[in-house]
């Protein structure tokens, strides 16, 4: 069984995918995960998941302009300049 290993480097940081180990059950996966991804004290914690329990999601429709949901969908420079100029002349 292949177990995917996610590791957290320091408390507060996100768990990131680090690699995988082959192990028949959780007890072996834990020992092997601890060793490959923590024997130097480089990990705060690990998440171990059998690969078969992971579901992959990919591919988003990219048909229409959705920039209004992001910062780069807003350009206020020109209007801001105009507003400041008008304020000065009042």
């Amino acid at each position: 069984m292949i177990w995917e290993v996610f590791r957290q480097e320091r408390k507060g940081q996100p768990f990131q995918h680090a690699g995988s180990v082959e192990a028949p059950d959780f007890r072996f996966a834990e020992i092997y995960g601890r060793e490959q991804y923590g024997r130097r004290g480089e990990s705060e914690a690990l998440w171990l998941v059998p690969r078969e329990h992971l579901s992959v999601v990919e591919g988003w429709a990219d048909e229409f302009d959705l920039k209004y949901r992001r910062v780069d969908g807003y350009s206020i420079k020109a209007r801001l300049k105009e507003a400041r100029e008008r304020a000065e002349s009042r």
């Binding site: 082959e22 020992i31 601890r34």
Partner: protein, 225 residues
């Protein structure tokens, strides 16, 4: 500390850990599974690390250093139990010895942790905390071997062979505790045998010592490496 001197107690434990760690490190690079190779190598390194800490404590009292204690004594001067001296590059025997030793060591360390010598008690506690992980590993392997017929057969053969040596790791009341634990854990009977006690060494220790000290002896005592 009681009848035996502090130095004797420290050296006995240190020599056990050194020689066992040395034997366990023989698997680095050739263990049955790559993942297990990495795991078992850490265990071997931990044992050497324990030996080093124990030697350092004894060395202060003796006016020497850890390396001198580890390498520069004659084979007869080591106080290790014959169990750890055996060269058994066979996995069932390795696991059986690993488990038997860790079980005995837990019993021994419990006594040392309660010592009224704070340095010894403190170091014993540190060693014990690291060995909790070794015990976890050993137990996992015992369960795995016992889960198949082939594993059980091989484990039984290994235990049968090593049991007399395992009995020699501890004395008296502590030995009885070991017997009780091992009996309670394994689903088969233990052979009725005489213990191979400490105080005698195997030919294997001599061979190990020759190899272990080969490079060191090639330069004058005190040479740096």
């Amino acid at each position: 500390m009681n009848a035996r001197s502090r130095v004797e107690v420290l050296l006995e434990l240190a020599d056990d850990e050194l020689i066992l760690g040395w034997r366990d490190s023989e698997w680095t690079g050739i263990a049955p599974l790559l993942e297990e190779d990495v795991a078992f190598s850490s265990i071997a390194q931990n044992e050497i690390g324990h030996a080093r800490a124990l030697y350092e404590l004894a060395a202060r009292e003796l006016g020497t250093d850890a390396d001198a204690l580890a390498f520069d004594r004659a084979p007869d001067e080591y106080r290790c139990a014959p169990l750890v001296e055996l060269r058994r590059l066979e996995w069932a025997r390795t696991i059986a010895r690993h488990w038997l030793y860790e079980t005995a060591d837990e019993i021994r360390l419990a006594v040392l942790k309660a010592s009224d010598d704070p340095e010894v008690a403190g170091l014993a506690a540190k060693i014990d905390r690291e060995e909790a992980y070794h015990r976890m590993h050993a137990e996992m392997w015992i369960d795995r071997l016992l889960a198949t017929e082939e594993g059980t057969t091989r484990l039984r053969e290994a235990i049968d062979e090593l049991w007399p040596y395992a009995l020699g790791v501890l004395d008296g009341e502590l030995r009885l505790q070991l017997v009780e634990r091992v009996r309670g854990r394994l689903p088969f009977d233990l052979p009725e045998v005489e213990p191979v006690t400490r105080g005698q060494h195997t030919e294997e220790l001599r061979e190990l010592w020759d190899e272990m000290t080969e490079v060191r002896r090639s330069a004058p005592t005190g040479a740096q490496w």
